[in-house]
Symmetry: C2
Subunit: 210 residues, 2 copies
């Protein structure tokens, strides 16, 4: 028996997408439940019935964000060398924080870096998510050391911290209105810096044959 009673009049995924945009633009505390329900095109009781409450809704939104908007990061990790991982990460991040179908910046930061006491768990949750991403990057660098495209004395955690710091700075800049081209420039500078500071093996200059 697949369903009993009146079926809901909206698609949960679709309205989550609307909520994502509102949280992203206004932050967790800056987005009121009324705002959210209005943007989602549903009534508040439907919101509470379907998603549980403001914080639960936000966590579902963040999960969706991680699945979709952060896919580029997981893709970057599959690049063959540390240098290329970082290059992809920084360049794709410059694009991700300046998409014209999304608010500027990234949800993880716009969502809220500081919150009132009662919402402190939200800020902590976001911070923990970012640090988890950083740990994943550090793990990727550990493999890079094993692969030999990072020197044996490289510090994976420190390098990951540096790269993530730059992506966070890009996000802050984007939210301040800095252009995609300017962020791309930051990515290139940081990439040269990463190569120099890490001693990463650079991709071979495939000077066009023939």
């Amino acid at each position: 028996m697949p369903q009993r009673g009146r079926p809901r009049g909206f698609d949960a995924d679709e309205v989550l997408e609307r909520a994502l945009e509102v949280f992203w633009r206004y932050g967790y505390e800056g987005a009121s439940v009324n705002d959210l329900a209005a943007a989602m095109g549903i009534n508040k009781p439907s919101l509470y019935a379907a998603f549980g409450g403001k914080e639960e809704l936000f966590r579902k939104v963040v999960a969706r964000y991680a699945d979709e908007d952060m896919e580029y990061a997981r893709r970057a990790f599959t690049e063959p060398t540390a240098y290329e991982v970082v290059a992809t990460l920084l360049r794709e991040n410059a694009l991700a924080v300046t998409r014209d179908d999304r608010p500027a910046g990234c949800l993880s930061i716009q969502g809220g870096t500081a919150c009132s006491t009662e919402n402190a768990p939200v800020a902590e949750f976001l911070a923990a998510s970012r640090l988890a991403g950083e740990r994943a990057l550090a793990d990727r660098f550990v493999r890079a050391v094993a692969d030999g495209d990072l020197p044996a004395d490289a510090d994976p955690a420190a390098l990951a911290r540096f790269v993530m710091s730059v992506t966070e700075g890009q996000a802050i800049h984007a939210a301040a209105g800095v252009s995609r081209e300017d962020l791309r420039q930051t990515a290139e500078i940081a990439l040269v810096g990463f190569a120099a500071a890490s001693g990463a093996r650079l991709p071979e200059h495939t000077t066009n044959p023939a």
Copy 2:
């Protein structure tokens, strides 16, 4: 006639300092006027009489913050070369965002990167302040090009953007609980990166004479 009527029972500078801490820790929207007045040790009507309102209070707090907590940045600008300016800036920033007599991070970011519609001016004001600092750094780099400690083809604006991005990343990291030592590591990596990407003239290795 220096003063008429009842003198106020608090020191404006002193209570501003308390307000600074509250805004810093909870963000603009996360700090309620009740919280602020309580932390300042005054009543709400006194707050409004002395400072005008929540937003005006915040702007006065930010001005105080710029005067005191950002003094290290102005000091960094007086270093003789671009490399040393950046070295001081990044290292001092690692300290500034992890002071144990201050909330973690920096007010400019913790204050609010995203706000509800009605408080959007606050986020814009903070973003503009950060970009003004970046412009000042770019100007310092222009002078560095003239001084010859940055190459003639260096891009001052792009380099300044990179450096500020790292400091913002440091602030975000600090707010997430990352340690001072780890941020110092980020500073050193970014500094090596800056030197490599900019072609900055390095300070002479003053190998101890005698």
